[in-house]
Amino acid sequence: MKKLLGATCAVALMAFGAMAKDAPKTPDEVAQPGGTLPGNPKIALVQIADGFLDPINVANAGDGSGRIFVVERIGRIKIVNKDGSVNEEPFLDLTSINPLGNDVQTGFVEQGLYSVAFHPNFAENGHFYVHYASLPFNGDGMIVRFTVDPESPDVVDADRANGTAKVLMRIEQPWYNHNGGQIEFGPDGYLYIGSGDGGWEGDPYEAGQDLSTPLAKILRIDVDVPDDADRPYAIPDDNPFANASSERLMVLFGITEEQFAQIKTRSLPEIWSYGVRNPYEFAFDQKTGDMFIAEVGQNHWEEIIFEPAGTAGRNYGWPRMEAAFCHPMTGDPAEDTDCSVVGTLPAAMYPHSAPYPGAPEDNTGGCSVQGFGVANYGGMDGVYLMGDWCSGRVFGLGHDGEKWQLQEMMQTGLQFTAGGYDEDGNVIAVNANNFYLADEGPDSNPPGQLWRVVPADEVPEGAVVAETVQ
């Protein structure tokens, strides 16, 4: 409840502000690298722990234990204790729940155990949720609830996992990429699910603009239903398409066009927003409830979406749009006068080495944006931090009261894969050493690390700090 109150206050305050913090209205307002955050904050990455196998997500349980849960792609969740020690025995090991082998499909580097989220009342009910590519279901995305045995808070063994497993959702996946990933409880207590467009490239299903598929969407569900209920979750009443496909009598006259437009007979009620390509990571600002989505782009641009708290039903454009540009890109977008924006623009974007086909090499961006979390400390006020999988850059996205600013915070040698928060609200991040090429498998790639974002002038003495360009 405390969180909810916080969000309400912030929204009320914003209403009196001069310039509402929201998505840009025109492409030239979309922030690009080279901006400066208010106060020009300086950060460092301090290592918390090392030795994880392809870590690709991280979370805390919110139970006061101070534990950090690192998700390993192969299907394990490792506990990092408050003192930085890592428990040898995994918290959850999906490689061992099925006697026929790993339950997780990891054949392609984008597949695996994507993420973990803990129920807002985890301390009382022990429920936590995972999203993973299922091997038995040929890579379909499984969202499953497990329940911790209070007698064994650090280890959910195979028997306990099988005995408590409740499958909430299986998202059919046509291809082995863009299936991720993040699941996270919002400040409203509902579970948000990042669902990619199903893969290949170019969105062959046109999933982004198709309201009848869960692919290429952010979904939102209410997990708090009785275990004997007909469905494993409920639809929140204020989901944008909660009632759009309800059966009804047809009435043709006396209905406004706006009312007609609310009838979407094939829409899925789980949809919260649509037109995303690969929302592998997203995060809520713990202070305001605002949402940021690290939306992985295709060949030319990465984008970062801002969604004010509680704003439902937005269309983020994919596959009509890639960042602020029309998709597919065929040349220099500056010469494309026919392009008109579809949906809501991202707050920021950064380029790949080729910002458009035939462009001169650009060395300011990266290849795949991986979100960490929103920092509200160290001089940062609502700054969304993200890292790139290819370039090792860390970017910060913030609003200066007038417009969005995207600032390169540091250049590291790390391949970032994800982030989250510790229980104190610090932003944390993980890096893995996996890639499309030379992938030796999720148990054989060089190990990855867990980091905490700290203000540069507050690095503890003797701490291991990520190497950066000075």
């Binding site: 370039s391 090429l437 060089p446």
Partner: protein, 149 residues
């Protein structure tokens, strides 16, 4: 003697740490920040005469060696091609066929070895973790062929 001792005492700790590499002749540096490169990967690998020679001279003994180039091409196909493309013109990774280098030192054999062994940024991982130094020299000999004509 007296003077030498004094000098040694004045050497900053950072320089002293570079001693293992410097003792071999070449001072190898980390690509990201020019700190001394630590030879910490695959410590059981065989240090071939070619590697030993390279550490002393900074010149790749495999340059122009047809057999080594053929071996290097095989490794390139497996480890490098997905990003730098078959012809080296680059896609996710930069173009290797021209003489433009994001880091000037990569224009030298030593610099190219440094970035392959110790990594650059992000996806340009430390491939010293995945292949022996001898194989890195062979890949370098193959990469040279991109700029030969």
């Amino acid at each position: 003697m007296h003077r030498l001792l004094l000098l040694a005492a004045l050497l900053p700790a950072a320089l002293a740490a570079a001693a293992p590499a410097a003792a071999d002749g070449i001072e190898f540096k980390a690509t990201l920040n020019d700190k001394p490169l630590q030879f910490k990967y695959r410590t059981n690998q065989e240090i071939t005469p070619a590697v030993e020679s390279f550490h002393k001279t900074g010149e790749n003994p495999y340059a122009g060696d047809a057999a080594a180039i053929a071996d290097g091409q095989k490794i390139y196909k497996k480890m490098c091609q997905a990003c730098h493309l078959k012809d080296g013109t680059g896609r996710i990774g930069p173009n290797l066929t021209d003489e433009e280098w994001a880091r000037a030192r990569t224009g030298t054999e030593v610099g190219r070895f440094e970035i392959i062994y110790g990594g650059g940024a992000g996806a340009m991982q430390a491939f010293g973790r995945r292949m022996d130094q001898d194989d890195i020299l062979k890949v370098m000999a193959f990469i040279d062929t991109f700029r030969a004509d």
